[in-house]
């Protein structure tokens, strides 16, 4: 993994220096400036202690990145960029100062000083975003469901509580057969669900022996859901509701490069070490997310709610997210602190609980996301038996635009069961053992 991370860093820095060469010729949009220069250069500084440059070339690349960051800060201070002038300049000055200090520290190869600049750099990001990024930390990014009335301005006590099942047969992305249609009719929904359930039946015994062995688990072990996702009578053809075509938007070029580099590394080193295997195989991360998404089983969420705290307790991997509910938006943890589940803070917008999460590690990857993922989840009680769960993926270094998913959950009287994974995880050890055995035989 370390190899992969270094490759990524070098690729990214190559992109940055390439772009900064062209930037003088052609004015960049604010988004370009953020995505191509400020995010990756800031990340290089935030992660300085875990991805410390190891040789002259890497130190030179880092120095180049800090210079690009300082140039971007200067660019922000130019008259044509400034918005509400005084505030903008004051916010920009923070980045000018932090990046200037970073240039000197990178040239001096001074890791402690670079690390100590994290807070100043983070402060410059947050302050400017609070002033100028629409709805930063509070926003309802692209909520698509107007079907749910915001009846009350006050959050109803206990409105989200209960055990909720989020299994469904509706796929994340819209299948070709429903192209151009966000919803399907009642009859279509019944037919589609019946077809999917039949196709997925693991008790079928396909003719090819290989397919039969691949389906070795009996259907009893799965709990994939039997119905199309439905909110207020609308049967969804995809869980992605924005973009309107129901498909995940294109990845940015740098995300494509990162993912390609990782895939190449995987091909070359499929099982040298446990780190080469997926987080799922390692019992570290599953469809409990965040964000949550329907998986083969354990699609249960239990919610506990009071004024100041909500607990999102997943059956999958028994993760409990303890989320503070803020009356006024509060900042996230400093950017240098990264967590598997990110840093979540919640607030109410009418009857909707909005959970805002940042500070992810770059180890989880939700369909291509990286450590810059800004996740906004929305929980709205649609009716007695339905909890509407929506989330927006906003990750400018991974996707060319934000995208939004709508996943209605249904009330369940089942009990969330204790989870087990590691204690029976003989597969991981056996995969590595098999790989070592293969190596011996090839010698």
């Amino acid at each position: 993994m370390r190899k992969a991370a270094l490759v990524t860093t070098i690729v990214v820095s190559g992109v940055v220096s390439g772009l900064s060469r062209t930037s003088s010729a052609q004015p960049q949009t604010m988004s370009d400036l953020m995505v191509q220069t400020i995010y990756p250069a800031s990340d290089a500084i935030f992660y300085i202690e875990t991805r410390t440059p190891a040789n002259d070339a890497e130190w030179a690349a880092l120095a180049g990145q800090t210079e690009a960051l300082a140039a971007a800060a200067d660019e922000l201070m130019r008259p044509n960029r400034a918005r509400a002038r005084e505030q903008w300049l004051a916010d920009g000055r923070l980045l000018v100062n932090a990046s200037g200090a970073a240039v000197a520290a990178a040239k001096a190869r001074d890791v402690p000083t670079l690390a100590s600049l994290n807070d100043a750099l983070y402060q410059s990001c947050v302050q400017c975003h609070q002033h100028y990024r629409p709805g930063y930390g509070t926003r309802a990014v692209g909520s698509q469901q107007s079907a749910v009335p915001a009846a009350s301005r006050q959050p109803p006590a206990g409105s989200l509580e209960g055990t909720w099942n989020f299994s469904t047969v509706t796929p994340l992305e819209r299948p070709a057969e429903f192209a151009g249609r966000a919803t399907m009719s009642d009859a279509e929904a019944r037919a589609y669900a019946a077809r999917v359930v039949d196709q997925r039946n693991f008790d079928r015994r396909p003719e090819s022996r290989e397919a039969d062995v691949a389906g070795a688990y009996n259907d009893a072990w799965y709990d994939r859901g039997v119905a199309v996702a439905t909110v207020a009578g609308r049967h969804q053809t995809s869980l992605v509701v924005d973009p309107p075509d129901g498909r995940i938007p294109a990845q940015t070029p740098q995300a494509q490069q990162r993912i390609a580099a990782r895939a190449a590394d995987r091909r070359q080193h499929p099982s040298d070490d446990p780190e080469d295997r997926s987080l799922g195989e390692r019992c570290l991360s599953f469809n409990a997310g965040p964000p949550m998404l329907t998986g083969p089983y354990n699609n249960y969420l239990q919610i506990f709610q009071q004024e100041a705290t909500v607990i999102l307790f997943n059956e999958m991997i028994h993760d409990a997210r303890v989320v503070p509910i803020d009356a006024t938006p509060q900042p996230h943890a400093p950017a240098a602190i990264r967590r598997w589940q990110g840093d979540s803070r919640a607030h109410w917008e009418g009857a909707t609980l909005v959970v805002d999460t940042t500070n992810f590690t770059d180890k989880t990857s939700f369909r291509g996301t990286d450590g810059n993922l800004h996740l906004v989840e929305r929980f709205t009680r649609a009716d007695a038996n339905t909890l509407l769960y929506e989330f927006t993926i906003d990750d400018p270094t991974a996707f060319t635009r934000p995208w939004t998913v709508s996943l209605p959950m249904t009330r369940s009287t089942d009990q969330v069961y204790e989870y087990a994974c590691h204690e029976g995880n003989y597969a991981l050890g056996n995969i590595l053992r098999g790989a070592r055995d293969e190596e011996r035989r090839q010698k």
Binding site: W221, Y222, F304, H318, E423
Partner: protein, 317 residues
Amino acid sequence: VRGVALAIVGAWALGLGTGSIGAQGRAPSPTPQAPARSLEGIWSFSTLTPLERPAEFGDRALVSDAEAAAWVKQNLERNNRDRRDGGAEVDVGRAVNDYWFERGTELAARDGRRMTSLIVDPPDGRLPALTTNARATLAARAADNRAHPADGPENRSLQERCLSFNAGPPMLPGPYNNYVQILQFPGYVIIFTEMIHDARVVPIGDRPRPPASVRRWLGEPRGRWEGPTLVVESAQFTANTNLRGADEHMRLTERFTRIDDKILLYEFTVDDPTAFTRPWRAMLPMRRTTDRLFEYACHEGNYALPDILRGARYQEK
């Protein structure tokens, strides 16, 4: 998993689960009303008071601050992992620096004095004798461990396997991560330990238990209020956890009482007639803290377990 869930639901529907392990003649619970969320907060349970009373304190359950301070000073010096004396082997055994530990710096306080053991009953502050059966079981297990120290991961401790720690239940002070966050909700109390990030969801009231064949690492808890005290009774543990000799028949009763602004008194009783010749009870005052719980990690860095097994295979060759 569906198969299991269906089995439980089926058993409940037939009424098989109800009362199979249930409370014996317990009075109906009072209204499941939490007294104004009195237990909420983040609590630290680090302390140097050991579970069992050290011999030097004899029959004294409580000592003065001065006596406690002298004992603490000696204890901290003896266990300081930054010491480099005692020869190469001892030095290597202290390889993890003191910085990584957070054992506490005091003996637990009670009634203005200091506790010499967490066990308060039996009065000698020591674990009661094990039953004959339990001794035989433990001896057999110890013999098996000697004969098969590292054949497979199951031969190693639950801690080395990142499966169970001092988060329990019951909670006991350990070398670090001695923090618990308690949150009260209508009908539930959640006990969230920093160690191994276990969230215990305790339903309040007499809901039926799953059948006795359903066993859990954390046991099956039921809560009730006795005045200002939350009482949590847990049973249906697995045979895999082993609290000082307890087995899967352990019935654990925990009591949480808010004493004042800063102190939450945690008490627990272990009643396991197949393991101990009598029940025993411990007391652990927890202190309010303004620290935050951090995300827990264990498996993702657990290179030790495969290395132990690899070393054992190498030795066999």
